[in-house]
C-alpha cells in the first residue's frame, strides 16, 4: 500500500482538528485497510480513533432512546442486552453480515461508512466513477449481478453493502456526528446519499466530521420485526436483496410500518408512501404486493441484476409476513421462516 502517516489522537477535538480531505479516520479497519491494499483508498494519513474515550458506550435514556457509541464493535452491539431487548432487529441485521472475526473488529461508525462491493470499484485496472470520477461506469453494461435497481444514475449503479444500515433505516436511527462547528444529528436516510453526478461521495458527512454515536428512538414493535436477507450463499455474502421491517401494532392494526431495502440501491431504500399503504389497517397479506410494488416503483435492471426486481418483490412480501406473524428471521437457522 502507499505510504501514509499514522496518528492516534487522544481526544475527539484533536482528531477533528487533525482531519483533512486527504486523511481517514480508522475504526476497525476491516474495509479501509483492504481498500488501501487494493490502492482504492489512498489516504495521506490515518487517524486511529481507538484511543478515544466515550465512544464505546451503549446506553438508554429516559425516553427510551438507545445510544450506541461509534467505536462499539459490531459483535458487542449485537450481543448487548439493551440492543437485544429493545432492538433485536439491529442485532439480527448485524449478525446477518460478515463473519464473527470481522464483526469483532468492525465498529458501528465504520459500518455506516463501509464502501460498495462493486467489482469495478475494487479493481483499479478498470474504469470506475466512484473510484476515479469521470472514468466511466463499466458495470452498467458489464457484470452487474450485485448492482442497484433503484436510485441509480448514469454515473454509478453501485449498492451500499451494509446489513446494519438497512436495519437502522427501518428503525429511523439518527447518526450523531461531530465536526469543527460542533455536533450534528443526521437521520439515517439522509446520511447515505444516491450517486447522482457525484458517485465518489457515499454520504453527506463532511470531510472533517466524525461519527460519534448512533441513536435509535424507542419503538414498540415487540416481535413484529424481521431482517430477511437473500444472498448467493448462506453466510458471508452480501445481500442480493434484504428487507428490514418494523411493524408496530395497535388493536390488530398496523400503527406504524417501516420497511427498508438493502442490496438494491446506493443507500438503504425507504418509501414512506409504501409504508402508508398498510398503516391504519390490519396486516393483510393481500396488500403486501401493493407495498412491494410501491417500494419498487421505478426499479430498473441492467442485465444480470434484472432478477432483483422480482426477487425483491417476493422478499418484501415474505418479510412483511414474518413481521406480521411475529416470526422474525433467525440468522442462526438458515431456513427462512
Amino acid at each position: 500500500m502507499r505510504p501514509f502517516h499514522y496518528e492516534r489522537p487522544r481526544a475527539l477535538e484533536e482528531a477533528i482538528a487533525g482531519k483533512t480531505e486527504a486523511s481517514r479516520f480508522l475504526g476497525g479497519g476491516t474495509n479501509l485497510i483492504d481498500l488501501m491494499k487494493y490502492d482504492v483508498e489512498r489516504p495521506a494519513s490515518l487517524l486511529d480513533l481507538n484511543r478515544l474515550e466515550g465512544l464505546r458506550e451503549v446506553e438508554r435514556d429516559r425516553e427510551g432512546t438507545l445510544r450506541i457509541g461509534a467505536l462499539v464493535s459490531n459483535a458487542d452491539a449485537a450481543a448487548h442486552p439493551l440492543v437485544r431487548e429493545h432492538h433485536p432487529l439491529l442485532a439480527d441485521a448485524i449478525l446477518a453480515g460478515a463473519t464473527p472475526q470481522l464483526r469483532n473488529m468492525a465498529t458501528m461508525g465504520g459500518n455506516l461508512l463501509q464502501r460498495t462491493r462493486c467489482y469495478y470499484f475494487y479493481d483499479r485496472l478498470t474504469p470506475c466513477n466512484k473510484r476515479e470520477p469521470g472514468t466511466g461506469c463499466p458495470a452498467k453494461e458489464g457484470v452487474n449481478r450485485i448492482h442497484a435497481i433503484l436510485g441509480t444514475s448514469e454515473h454509478c449503479i453501485a449498492t451500499h453493502p451494509s446489513d446494519m444500515c438497512v436495519a437502522l433505516a427501518a428503525l429511523e436511527a439518527v447518526v450523531v456526528v461531530r465536526g469543527p462547528s460542533g455536533e450534528r444529528r443526521i437521520r439515517t436516510e439522509d446520511f447515505h446519499r444516491l450517486p447522482g453526478d457525484a458517485p465518489e461521495r457515499d454520504t453527506t458527512l463532511d470531510a472533517r466530521e466524525v461519527v460519534t454515536a448512533i441513536e435509535i428512538p424507542a419503538r414498540l414493535y415487540g416481535r413484529h420485526h424481521t431482517y430477511l436477507k437473500l444472498r448467493d450463499r448462506l453466510s458471508y455474502a452480501f445481500a442480493l436483496v434484504s428487507v428490514a421491517v418494523t411493524m408496530e401494532m395497535q388493536e390488530g392494526r398496523v400503527s406504524r410500518l417501516r420497511v427498508a431495502l438493502g442490496g438494491v440501491a446506493h443507500k438503504p431504500w425507504r418509501v414512506p408512501e409504501a409504508e402508508a399503504l398498510l398503516e391504519g389497517r390490519g396486516p393483510e397479506e393481500a396488500r403486501f404486493g401493493a407495498v412491494a410494488d410501491r417500494l419498487l416503483q421505478g426499479a430498473r435492471g441492467y442485465g444480470h441484476n434484472d432478477f432483483k426486481i422480482g426477487l425483491a418483490r417476493l422478499a418484501i412480501a415474505r418479510a412483511l409476513h414474518q413481521a406480521a406473524a411475529a416470526t422474525p428471521q433467525s440468522h442462526v437457522a438458515k431456513r427462512i421462516a
Partner: protein
C-alpha cells in the same frame, strides 16, 4: 501371535501436528529473513493487444525498490516456446512471461517489481505506468460456439472421444422416447488456501534452491532448467507442504518464472507470493457447454446417446479434458456419438481442476438421465441400473473391477431412496419443498511411473522418500502406513519425505494416481528391503530363519517371523548386527502394467444421493443431506479417504450452487476476482455428508489394490444437487451455478438459445 494391520485402518495424519502447530513450512514460510527480496507482479489491464509504452521511473524512485522488470529490460531466457513446455501442458505455445510487448489475456504479467519489502514492491507496482494498444477481444464462449473446432493435436493423457458407434442421429429419430437438452457450466477458479508462490534461495555457489507451489517438484525443476538453460545439478526444488492446489499446481505458473528470473538477474534470493486476486490470472476450469440427446425404448433401455461438449481455451494453447466419454462409460447403448470441441477465447489457458472434465460431462449427462426418467415415468435409479454397463464400451475393454451396483445399493439404503415419491413437489416441510436426487460418477484409476527409496536403520527407524507432493490429501500418512505395515514397524518409527527433487522421481500428484502409484513404489521398495533384511538375518550364526523364503516370513513388531513356526524369529536389531551394515537402503518402482492396460480399463465409481430443501417462494436452496457411496478399490486409510470424498462433495455442492467466475466481455476480464465475491460454500451451506466405501477387490489396477480417491467425490455431486432441486421444485435448472434467480426462473437461461 497376531499381525497388526495398518493398511485399511483409520489413522490420524502423521503431519497433522505439524500443520496445526504451524511448523509445517509452506512455500512462503521459507526464507523469512531480511536478506530475501520480495517481488510483486503488475498484471495487464487489457485482454489482447500490445504495450505501447511502459514507464517504470516512478516505481524505481521508491526507496527500497531494487529493480522493475518489464519486457524491455528482462534478462535473456530461452527463445523457443517449446522450452517452456511442461509435462501436463496442452498442445500450443506456453505463456512466456514478459517475453515481448504483446498481451494475450487480461491479467498477464506486464511488470515485476522487486523490493526490499513486500509492501514496497506492492506499492511500487501501482506506480508503473502502462499505455496499451488494445485490439478487439473475445471472451464470450456462447457467442463463439459457432466457431468451435476439434483440437488438431490431442493433449497427452486425455482420451479424445471414441469414433461413433452406429448412427446416433437415426436411432434418436426413431426412438420412442427421447430427451434433448443443453447444459452450461460456468468457469471456475482454483482457490486453494495457500496462494501460488515461489521462494528462490540463491546459494553461495550460485545454485538455486527453489520452493514452489507445485504438485510435483520435478515439474518445476525441469521447467527452470529448460527455460533458464541450467544444468540439473544447479537446481533443487523443495516443496514439502502444499496448501491445496486442486490442479492449479500441475503446471509451473508465471510466478515461478518471474521469481527465478529475478533471483538470477539480481543474484539475490527472491520471494514472490501472488495475491488472492492474482489467483484468478493463472488457471481456471473452462466454461463448458453441453448438448445431450438420449433415446430410449418405453422400458427404459437406451437406444442412442449423443453428447457433445464445447469447452473454452486460450488463444495460445488447446487445453483439453475428457468431458463426454463418461456418458458411454456409465451407460450402454448401441448407437453412440460423443463429440468434444474447443472455442478459443482471449483468456488465460484453463487448467485441470479436480476431476477435470468429469463433473462437467456428468452434470449434463446425469441431469439428462433424470429428465429421461421423468419422461419414461421410471425411478431415476432404476433407469440408471437398467442401462449400467458391465464392460467399458468406450474403449471396448473389461473393467478390472466395478462395484458401482454394490455402492449404489449401500448408498440408496443409507439415504432411504426407496421412500422417494416419484413426482416432483411431493415432499415439503413448512415453506420448504424437499427433493431427493442422485447421480453416478466415474473417474479413471491410473498408475504412473514412480520411484521410491526406503531406508531402515539398526534402531528400527525407517525413512521413506518419494518426490511426489502431499497436497493435503494424506499422502504422508498412507505412505507411512504402507511402509510400517510392510516392515512390521509402528507408525511412529516411519518418517516420510516428500516434495524434494533430490528424492526418487515422481510425476506431478494428480489424476488420483498418487496413492496407487507412489504407494506401490514404496511397497516395492519395502519388498526389496525385506529381502535384504532376511538375507542379513540368515547370516546370523545358527539363524532360525536359515532356510526361510521371503514369502514364508512376516515382518511384525520389529521382528522377522517364520509364519508356520512363530517361535522361529530374528529381531531386526539382530539382523542388522549380523548383516554388519548400519542401515539398509532399497529402491522400488511402480508403473502401469502395459498388458493389463491393453485388456482392462480401470475406474472408480460413485453414486451420490442428495437432499435439497428449497424455499418455495424465495428459491433459497439448502443441501441438507448427502450420501456419497464410492467403489474405489482398497481403501488405505478410511479416515483420510473419507476426508478426500467429503472435500469433493463440498466442492460439488459449491459447483452446483455457488462457484462462478464472471467475465466482463466488454473489458475481457474476470471481475469477481476475490473470495468475497467469488463464492465457495460457507459452513452454513454444508450439512450432513455421509461417505460409504463399497468393498472392491482389484489386484489388476495396482499391486496394492488401490484405485485412488482424489477426484471421485466431486464428479456426480453437482448433478445430484440439480436433480434434487428439480425433484423439490419441479424446475429443471440446466446452468451452473444454480443461483437463487435461476431456481426461481427469474433469469432467462442461456441454454434455451441456439
Amino acid at each position: 501371535m497376531m499381525h497388526h494391520p495398518l493398511i485399511g485402518t483409520p489413522q490420524d495424519r502423521v503431519d497433522g501436528r505439524a500443520k496445526v502447530t504451524g511448523t509445517a513450512r509452506y512455500v512462503a514460510d521459507f526464507e523469512t529473513g531480511a536478506e530475501v527480496l520480495h517481488a510483486h507482479v503488475l498484471n495487464s489491464a487489457i485482454a489482447i493487444g500490445r504495450i505501447r509504452r511502459i514507464d517504470t521511473t516512478r516505481a524505481l524512485a521508491v526507496p527500497g525498490v531494487v529493480e522493475v522488470f518489464t519486457h524491455e529490460n528482462r534478462p535473456r531466457t530461452a527463445w523457443f516456446s517449446s522450452s517452456y513446455k511442461d509435462d501436463v501442458g496442452p498442445p500450443g505455445k506456453p505463456l512466456r512471461p514478459l517475453y515481448d510487448s504483446s498481451i494475450s489475456y487480461s491479467g498477464e504479467p506486464v511488470a515485476l517489481v522487486v523490493a526490499e519489502s513486500y509492501e514496497t514492491a506492492r506499492y511500487a507496482a501501482n506506480l508503473v505506468e502502462v499505455e496499451y494498444e488494445a485490439k478487439p477481444h473475445e471472451t464470450d464462449l456462447l457467442k463463439q460456439l459457432p466457431n468451435s473446432y476439434v483440437p488438431k493435436k490431442r493433449r497427452s493423457g486425455i482420451n479424445p472421444p471414441p469414433r461413433p458407434k452406429g448412427s446416433a442421429a437415426s436411432a434418436l429419430e426413431s426412438a420412442p422416447v427421447k430427451h434433448v437438452a443443453r447444459y452450461l457450466i460456468a468457469a471456475e477458479h482454483h482457490n486453494p488456501m495457500e496462494m501460488h508462490a515461489t521462494t528462490v534461495i540463491r546459494e553461495a555457489d550460485g545454485k538455486l534452491l527453489i520452493h514452489d507451489k507445485i504438485q510435483g517438484v520435478y515439474a518445476s525443476k525441469q521447467y527452470v532448467c529448460s527455460v533458464f538453460g541450467l544444468s540439473e545439478d544447479k537446481v533443487r526444488v523443495v516443496s514439502p507442504f502444499i496448501g491445496g492446489a486442486f490442479g492449479s499446481g500441475l503446471r509451473p505458473h508465471y510466478q515461478l518464472f518471474l521469481a527465478v528470473m529475478a533471483a538470477m538477474a539480481l543474484e539475490r534470493s527472491v520471494k514472490l507470493v501472488l495475491t488472492r486476486d492474482q489467483q484468478f490470472t493463472i488457471a481456471h476450469r473452462p466454461e463448458t457447454w453441453n448438448e445431450v440427446a438420449l433415446g430410449a425404448k418405453p422400458d427404459g433401455t437406451l437406444t442412442a446417446i449423443r453428447h457433445k461438449a464445447i469447452g473454452s481455451t486460450s488463444r495460445y494453447e488447446d487445453h483439453q479434458e475428457a468431458v463426454v466419454n463418461w456418458t458411454n462409460l456409465l451407460y450402454s447403448a448401441p448407437d453412440v456419438q460423443l463429440e468434444y470441441e474447443l472455442v478459443q477465447l482471449d483468456i488465460e489457458t484453463p487448467t485441470d481442476m479436480r476431476a477435470p472434465g468429469a463433473p462437467l460431462g456428468a452434470f449434463a449427462a446425469e441431469s439428462a438421465m433424470d429428465e429421461l426418467a421423468e419422461k419414461l415415468g421410471v425411478d431415476p435409479l432404476a433407469l440408471r441400473l437398467h442401462n449400467d454397463t458391465q464392460t467399458d464400451e468406450v474403449m471396448n475393454k473389461y473393467h478390472t473391477s466395478k462395484e458401482l451396483r454394490a455402492a449404489c445399493q449401500l448408498g440408496a439404503e443409507r439415504f432411504g431412496w426407496r421412500h422417494r415419491p416419484f413426482a416432483p413437489r411431493s415432499m415439503r416441510q413448512g415453506r420448504e419443498l424437499i427433493g431427493w436426487g442422485l447421480a453416478f460418477g466415474a473417474w479413471e484409476a491410473q498408475m504412473q511411473k514412480h520411484a521410491a527409496r526406503v531406508m531402515l536403520d539398526a534402531e528400527g527407524h525407517c525413512t521413506v522418500g518419494v518426490a511426489t507432493a502431499d497436497l493435503g490429501t494424506g499422502t504422508y500418512t498412507i505412505l507411512a502406513q504402507i511402509a510400517a505395515e510392510a516392515l512390521g514397524l509402528s507408525m511412529n518409527k516411519v518418517t516420510v519425505l516428500l516434495g524434494d527433487s533430490a528424492l526418487p522421481q515422481a510425476p506431478v500428484s494428480g489424476g488420483s494416481w498418487t496413492a496407487a502409484s507412489a504407494g506401490s513404489a514404496v511397497h516395492d521398495a519395502c519388498a526389496r528391503l525385506k529381502a535384504e533384511l532376511l538375507l542379513a538375518a540368515q547370516t546370523q550364526r545358527g539363524s532360525p530363519l536359515v532356510d526361510a523364503k521371503l514369502e514364508e516370513v512376516m515382518f511384525d513388531r520389529e521382528r522377522i517371523v517364520l509364519m508356520r513356526d512363530p517361535m522361529r524369529a530374528v529381531s531386526l536389531q539382530a539382523a542388522f548386527a549380523a548383516g554388519g551394515r548400519p542401515r539398509i537402503v532399497a529402491d522400488g518402482q511402480a508403473g502401469p502394467d502395459q498388458l493389463t492396460q491393453l485388456r482392462y480399463s480401470s475406474h472408480t465409481h460413485s453414486a451420490v444421493f442428495v437432499e435439497a430443501r428449497v424455499d418455495e417462494e424465495l428459491g433459497q436452496v439448502r443441501v441438507t443431506r448427502a450420501v456419497s457411496a464410492v467403489a474405489a478399490g482398497r481403501i488405505l486409510n478410511p479416515k483420510t479417504a473419507r476426508s478426500q470424498v467429503v472435500g469433493g462433495v463440498v466442492w460439488g455442492i459449491g459447483m452446483a450452487l455457488h462457484e462462478e467466475a464472471m467475465a466482463d466481455h466488454n473489458l475481457g476480464r474476470w471481475m469477481n476476482h476475490n473470495i468475497a465475491e467469488y463464492h465457495i460454500p460457507a459452513h452454513a451451506d454444508i450439512h450432513e455428508i455421509d461417505v460409504i466405501f463399497a468393498e472392491e477387490k482389484d489386484m489388476l489396477t495396482s499391486p496394492l489394490g488401490v484405485k485412488g480417491l482424489g477426484e471421485i467425490g466431486i464428479v456426480g455431486t453437482a448433478a445430484a444437487v440439480a436433480n434434487a432441486v428439480w425433484h423439490a421444485t419441479g424446475r429443471r435448472v440446466r446452468e451452473l451455478p444454480m443461483t437463487i434467480d435461476k431456481v426461481l426462473g427469474l433469469t432467462p437461461a442461456h441454454t434455451e438459445a441456439r
